[in-house]
Point group: C2
Chain length 427, copies 2
């Protein structure tokens, strides 16, 4: 089914005025629907420009220390009582001078560390917005197709809200992401296939009568879900003192996060909360070599994405048929950026480099982004003289296997001064 | 060595006026020393009451969103430029009505979720204060004896500060805690012994010339380190609207965290930032059955701690010879509380109960505390009609092994509607 429940008060009170097709511009009310009836293009939330323009820095700064300080710019959750949320967001923006030096940047470099969210990935942002909208639309069960982080987040959100959840994952996920979903007690369905198979099945299930009460955060309420990523743009700008950075490097799975950070910056300028940097901002995208359909398309000069069968350790980025790929390419081209990809060894090195220089322990997606940052500087695509923000979207504890063979104790000794001396610890 | 470097400006400017022996009251300047020269009793930071009394709610509320908002009540870090820190703290205080109902509480219950810290345990608080004091005292290398969480935190702090670190751990720690220390690139020494063996060796190393430049956060700068835990008391009171909760349940390893939360509440009353609850506050302590020397002593009516050889899954609580045990007993007796302990199965059940009812995924220490909360209600030791805060001090991702056999996918299916139907997902 595609719910056509009318938007209730909470959503009506939001600045969102409807859904609009990104491809053909067809307009829809605020319903649980993600693809255009006309052209099958993806739907996106459209806002009332006058309502957005009423939001002030002062309002935001007086708000809670989480994503809901930006409620005036989001499609749902204006009334705190309506929120289905773990209160994610306002994660640290970490100054990274040692990382800058290591990769050859001569301007300030920042790491936006979204591993600090409640379930330790940026997915808490999108899930909070999606489930809040979903509850407003009358759904009572929460679901998702996931590469892992989303599963953790949906299951945890449902547990806190006291609602049932059903989460679909590929059967070969990292154990850290399986246990961390299962522990919350909802249904957890392992699918014998890839993420793209999981996603396809969820697209079929959502049409069945048995799932009429079920919001799949990244299927039928996907337009609301996607808007949650805008907060990763707002926060960086606010944390820089209401300044948009000249360059951002963002990991890509579906490509949606990248497009929404770009959208957030555009909104901030449009409503007068920030000025654009002198030369505008430039957006860079990072993929893994095992799943690089967006970067490959951009580098080939096309915006036709050829789906791939993902491989490699960056499983949270392994979406072989990325829904927002063409829009990510558009944003990168428009802003003068570039995309690149890193292989598994480079990703592992990226994780270690980030940890050693900043104290931030990232999952493979973060390692990918740092590795690509390094490549972009080396290739001259990224300007080493301009302020740059690199996004870490997840937590190293969830992908320990990726580096557990590479790092460990530097010494093993008996519990005595003699043992310490023999190991060379006493000169 | 025991450094006698004079306290530099940063520490002089703090409200701390010296160290005092908890046993005999002997006084010392602010030096790197943790045991009394007179009686070998533990040293504690003493404050200038007039300086503490100058701190206002408004000052604190205008401060940063981390522990440093309480700098006026801490022994170091008043000048931001002097801090060696990941900026931990101001972690969520989560309302837990479903958990309250599950354990039989009829008053508000809150979970103070310290897994939200940068390295996902409360240790970031104590390490930030210890290393900031250590740098002020002239130390250039950072070290610790650790059951895991402290190792993560010291290594990460050192990486961010660009300083060398050397971390000592028992050889049999959970992999999650080993990799998460090693990834930051410092020295990591695995000791063939228990935590108590590790701690003993560090006490010997700190006296050698080769370690003269080295601050062991929980040995020679332990008095500063311990003060960091006070922030877990301040924050709960501030987050409750400057109100001290009637009851708190706190996990115990050395017992120090419990004594410092109690100390924090006392300070808040003394300096006029909070009123005491009508009947005062009551402090409860939680240990595991595999390492329960403090709880056993209390229950036996003595304050003589008999050291034990720790066993069981709650490794971060496995301190068999707890340095602050007698002081924890004193605080619990004085406030009319109690201590209890949970076995491994109860700890696992505690982790699951917390996750299912709140969306918070705790490590074994958190499972222990929730399990003990349940026991305390059942035994009538904790008043089910009074507001209660339970402390979760660490992250479930670090102790996945504890529950990975117990939870997992509820279904495994082929990627088709037929597969979903056969698994009963379509009615």
């Amino acid at each position: 089914m595609t719910s056509t429940v009318n938007a209730p008060a909470a959503i009506s009170a939001s600045p969102a005025k409807g859904l609009v097709c990104r491809a053909c511009g067809a307009e829809y009310p605020l319903i649980a629907q993600h693809a255009c009836y006309e052209c099958f293009g993806p739907l996106e939330v459209a806002y009332d420009a006058d309502l957005l323009a009423r939001v002030t820095r002062e309002q935001i700064e007086a708000g809670p220390q989480n994503i809901w300080r930006y409620a005036g710019l989001l499609p749902a959750g204006q009334d705190p009582a309506t929120r289905v949320t773990l209160d994610p967001g306002l994660t640290p923006l970490v100054s990274a001078p040692a990382l800058a030096a290591a990769v050859g940047l001569r301007a300030p470099l920042w790491v936006k560390d979204d591993s600090a969210n409640p379930t330790h990935s940026f997915k808490d942002r999108v899930v909070s917005v999606a489930l809040t909208a979903a509850r407003g639309l009358g759904f009572t069960r929460f679901a998702c197709a996931s590469t892992g982080n989303l599963a953790n987040s949906v299951a945890a959100h449902a547990a806190r809200a006291g609602a049932p959840s059903i989460v679909f994952i590929p059967y070969d996920l990292e154990q850290g992401k399986v246990v961390t979903t299962a522990v919350y007690g909802g249904d957890l369905v392992a699918i014998e296939g890839s993420y793209d198979d999981v996603n396809r099945l969820c697209g079929e299930l959502v049409e069945t009568d048995e799932f009429e009460d079920t919001a799949f955060v990244n299927v039928n309420v996907r337009p609301f879900y996607a808007e949650g990523s805008k907060t990763l743009g707002y926060e960086v700008a606010e944390q820089l003192g209401w300044r948009i950075p000249a360059q951002v490097v963002i990991p890509m799975a579906s490509g949606e996060l990248l497009t929404k950070v770009d959208k957030a910056f555009a909104e901030l300028v449009e409503i007068g909360l920030c000025e654009a940097p002198e030369d505008g901002w430039t957006v860079f995208g990072a993929q893994s070599a095992g799943c690089n359909p967006i970067a490959t398309a951009l580098q080939s000069g096309t915006d036709e994405i050829t789906p791939v069968k993902p491989t490699g350790i960056a499983k949270s980025l392994n979406i072989g048929d990325p829904a927002a790929g063409a829009y990510a390419i558009e944003a990168v081209r428009r802003t003068g950026g570039w995309m690149d990809y890193a292989d598994d060894d480079e990703i592992r090195a990226g994780i270690r480099l980030l940890a050693e220089t900043t104290g931030v322990f990232a999952e493979t997606a973060g390692g990918t982004t740092v590795a690509v940052l390094k490549k972009l500087v080396e290739s001259g695509k990224l300007d080493p003289e301009k302020e740059t923000v690199v996004y870490n979207t997840g937590e190293g504890l969830k992908t320990l296997d990726a580096i557990s063979e590479l790092v460990g104790p530097t010494h093993r000794i008996k519990p005595s001064l003699k043992g310490a001396r023999e190991a060379g610890l006493l000169g």
